[in-house]
């Protein structure tokens, strides 16, 4: 299972999302889009959305901290 989290350092919901994944002991790649403009572009192109956090689980993107949506995707993955 490949999981990416796109976030910025000062975004409260990004922190909530990352804590949630850590608590579930889910490994993820963290991408700070404030430091990496290329990755920021990649995120916006993939999802069509300019907001963080975004999580990509096996190619599927969820925008924001949608706890139930993320749990469902994790189960399916």
């Amino acid at each position: 299972m490949k999981i990416k989290v796109y976030s910025t350092p000062a975004c409260p919901w990004c922190g909530v999302l990352k804590d949630f994944l850590k608590e579930k002991k889910v490994d993820f790649e963290e991408i700070d889009v404030s430091k990496d403009q290329e990755k920021a572009k990649e995120m916006v192109e993939k999802s069509g959305q300019m907001g963080v956090p975004q999580i990509e689980i096996n190619g599927k993107i969820i925008v924001g901290f949608d706890k139930e949506g993320i749990e469902k995707e994790l189960e399916n993955a």
Partner: protein, 305 residues
């Protein structure tokens, strides 16, 4: 059965929990977002004891303080309804039900919408309510910040170092935010302040491309890639059922409390920005959290035979 159920984990809710824990009350806290709106503040310079602290760091301090006690925390849980029946409160979340002798509502506020065409359509596609979060995505672009209070001024200050140009747009002719912030902005070369400008539409295709506003007697279109809306907030109310009595709110939908943070329903207290307290400040919310918690303690003590 809990002695007190606290809904919300911002400065008010967390302070209430700390006071309840020190009184050895059995307490449960429902948290949608620990730190509440404080976690969204860029810079906090008026919380006693800290000359300067970021909102996120202050929220972390609050969290650590609460977690140093045995407080039951329902994380990521939203209370959908509170019902008082035969002297006992029943709180419903998505899946579970909780019972408590007293309740403190400390749910804070959420951003107010501009309610103009394009706002909904372009949310997360150029329209945002959190410069702290999404700001870095607008690097090198021209952006508009709409609003007149401290959050608008903060967003404009933050964006001035990220965006290539910032338009600070204010519908009235006056900023209600702190003068110290406004001075900072006026000195910035890439910030243009438009007073008495009414934003009427957000325009774009896939993403925001421009805004249309009424300014100096005419319609004007300004090309921007981002719109930061910071026009204030509205209370997060919780549905409360108690016989035929409704929870009393004022004309701004704020919960009416007395100086003991009592609402019109016995055993139900409220604290912080969700109430009609005159100044919405972190330190005021924390103070009200303490009052509400001590009042809840008195209420429970009197219930005992």
């Amino acid at each position: 059965m809990h002695d007190v159920a606290i809904i919300g984990a911002g400065p008010a809710g967390i302070t209430a929990a700390v006071y309840a824990a020190r009184k050895k009350l059995r307490c449960v806290v429902f948290a949608k977002m620990i730190g509440g709106q404080a976690a969204w503040s860029g810079e906090v310079g008026n919380y006693t004891g800290y000359q300067y602290i970021s909102g996120q760091d202050l929220a972390k301090k609050f969290e650590e303080h609460m977690k140093s006690f045995e407080v039951e925390l329902e994380d990521n849980a939203e209370v959908s309804a509170v019902q008082k029946k035969e002297g006992i409160f029943v709180l419903k979340t998505g899946k579970d039900e909780f019972q408590a002798k007293s309740v403190i509502i400390a749910t804070g506020r959420k951003p107010k919408l501009l309610k103009i065409p394009g706002e909904k359509e372009f949310r997360n596609r150029g329209v945002t309510y959190c410069a702290t979060c999404d700001g870095p995505l607008f690097s090198g672009r021209d952006v508009a910040v709409i609003g007149a209070g401290n959050s608008a001024l903060d967003s404009a200050i933050q964006m001035s170092s990220i965006a290539s140009k910032v338009y600070l747009i204010n519908r009235s002719g006056l900023f209600i935010g702190e003068g110290i912030r406004l001075e900072k902005l006026k000195a910035m070369k890439n910030v243009e302040i438009l007073l008495n400008a009414k934003t009427e539409e957000i325009i774009g295709s896939k993403f925001v491309e421009s805004i249309r506003l009424f300014y100096e007697g005419e319609e004007k279109v300004i090309a921007v890639g981002g719109v930061f809306i910071e026009i204030g907030s509205t209370p997060n109310l919780v549905l409360v059922k108690y016989d035929k009595d409704q929870l009393e709110v004022n004309e701004h939908n704020e919960i009416v409390v007395d100086s003991y943070c009592r609402t019109n329903i016995p055993g139900l207290f409220a604290a912080g920005d969700v109430t009609d307290v005159p100044y919405k400040q972190i330190v005021v919310a924390a103070g009200q959290g303490a009052i509400a918690s001590l009042s809840a303690f008195d209420y429970i003590t009197k219930l005992r035979p």
